[in-house]
């Protein structure tokens, strides 16, 4: 019996989505480019959470903490201390990795609902830290963040056109990297941990250290997204780290379809476009997002891509 080509389908859909992004890029106006960059940044952030929640099964409600530290790290290093962005970006990601590692060491002792509650509380610690500390602008936030200088190879990222392309390429790279991880032995182990933790432990796998590393890698990618977002907006505020931010990205992952990597990209497209059009019609956009989210979870929680994959799987089986 021929197996269902799960990975090939995902890659194909991801390539199609990114190509649509390119098509849009060629035809978009100023606002289109802004929207495209916003979708791309959210997609990276959501894919990082998918690695954590969808693959290793650690559903976090505090992931925005790392998005925020990436953004604040970039902002503080460039706008306050005047470092060049090409140094500030990797450094802020490394700082986030260190913090995430420390958090993970104790957070991975818990699982399921406990993990969710504790990450929510940790997210609030980060939020209240940036909200209080005056060096980082407190509740006023911090502005004046430059964008990466690629002038050496003749690209001016200050224009929204090249910046949106830059984010689009980053999405493609992150997708490629994460799908590589998910197919590697590391990916197989963390999937195994999600499906049956005690069995993996019985097989002699160091469950905790795998969980810590997954958490750290996911936090690094979130920091990358945060750093891009700081460059995109030129401004950071504690709102980036609030529980609503963590909640929204979890919604993006679940609406798009967990543990598929391409699902979160689709989720980011749907949620940003919906947010854009619905918030034009009503002030109460979160109400409708909440309803939509509850509906998706009730429908089985597979999300948009999950349903698509299920349909394809059925068709594949019918053909045989």
């Amino acid at each position: 019996m021929q197996n269902f080509p799960e990975q090939q389908l995902r890659d194909a859909v991801a390539i199609i989505v990114i190509c649509i992004g390119l098509l849009v890029w060629f035809n978009a106006g100023f606002f289109g480019h802004e929207l495209l960059a916003q979708i791309a940044i959210l997609a990276i952030f959501a894919m990082s959470l998918d690695l954590l929640a969808g693959y290793s099964g650690q559903v976090s409600l505090g992931h925005a903490a790392f998005f925020g530290t990436g953004a604040y790290g970039t902002a503080a290093l460039t706008a306050i201390w005047g470092w060049p962005l090409s140094v500030a970006m990797p450094i802020s990601i490394i700082i986030t990795a260190g913090l995430a590692f420390c958090v993970a060491i104790f957070a991975v002792r818990l699982s399921g609902i406990f993990f969710l509650m504790v990450t929510l509380a940790i997210g609030e610690v980060f939020h209240s830290f940036f909200f209080r500390v005056r060096v980082f602008g407190g509740d006023d936030g911090l502005g004046g963040i430059p964008r990466l200088d690629l002038g050496a190879i003749g690209i001016d990222l200050l224009s929204p056109i090249s910046f949106s392309m830059f984010t689009l390429i980053t999405v493609a790279l992150v997708y490629w990297g994460l799908s590589y991880i998910s197919r590697s032995s590391f990916g197989a182990v963390i999937s195994g941990i999600r499906q049956n933790e005690s069995r993996m432990a019985a097989l002699g796998c160091k469950v905790r250290s795998y969980k810590v590393w997954t958490f750290t890698v996911a936090a690094c990618l979130a920091a990358l997204a945060g750093s891009l977002s700081a460059q995109h907006d030129g401004f950071v505020s504690p709102d980036l780290l609030s529980w609503t931010a963590s909640g929204e990205v979890l919604i993006v992952v679940i609406v798009g379809g967990m543990s598929s990597l391409v699902g979160p990209i689709i989720g980011a497209v749907v949620v940003v476009l919906l947010a854009h059009y619905v918030s034009g019609l009503t002030n109460y956009w979160m109400f409708f997002m909440g309803l939509f989210f509850v509906a998706v979870v009730l429908a089985g929680g597979q999300g948009i891509y999950g349903l698509f994959e299920k349909t394809c799987r059925r068709l594949h089986n019918v053909k045989r």
Partner: protein
Amino acid sequence: MLFEPTFLANQFLNGLQLASLLFLLSVGLTVVYGLMNFINLAHGTLYMLGAYIGLSIVRMTGSFWIAFLVAPIVVAGLGAIAQATVLRWAGNTDPMKQVLITFGLVFIGLDAVRYFWGDYSYSIPSPMIFAGTVSVWGEPYPSYRLFVVGLGLLVFLVLYFGLERTRLGAVVRAGVDDQEMAVALGLDIKTAYFLVFCVGCGLAGLAGVVAAPVLSVYPGMDMSVLILTLIVVVMGGPGSLRGAALGALLIGMLQTFGQVFVPALASIVVYMLMVGVLLLRPHGLLPIRAK
């Protein structure tokens, strides 16, 4: 000034008052967790709804006491509706699914409150009998706050004896101890769970009404309190009534005295305590099941 006994006594009472509110909130969550391994993330939303519904009732009738009695019942009713519809449709095979649904309800509730009551901050005046102050070591102290402390204590005693001495309490305890065995013995865990869930929702609503004269009523009050409540539940040991009381007392005191002595670090101190407790005792201070 900071170490005067009267000042410290006042802060101690403030801590007790916060502990009392946190206890009202966490007790529903913790017992429901013990029965169904499910945490209602919309619990803070119910608290907020309790406060807002109380506000509307006070405006309509002018009486705090009507609000005090009616708002918790309305909130318990809303909880019952949510339980009977969306949470039941989700099925109880996978608690994570239900948790995510209640998380969606948080967003829905927040915007619903903004829609019906607006983005403003309100307050309910204290009821007439408790409008004044009483003297505590020579310092005036608002008597309403003492009423809140007394209410928390009363609810604790009622629930404690309810769980220890009544038939329903015995069923609930059996369900928490060993669900499968309790069901095999023919106990109606589902109904007990439904009742406990509704009572928990009602208590969250009660906490909202009672908090309204002390703290202000605003959209977003749900999350600030939910996080503290979750910490209480996790620290005390999920499922445990005494754990919830102990956790509420610890967090209430730490939060109050932290705000006074180290205002910049107060919230961080609370989280650090939780981290410490979880590292040393992953199942909480007073775990319900010995592991």
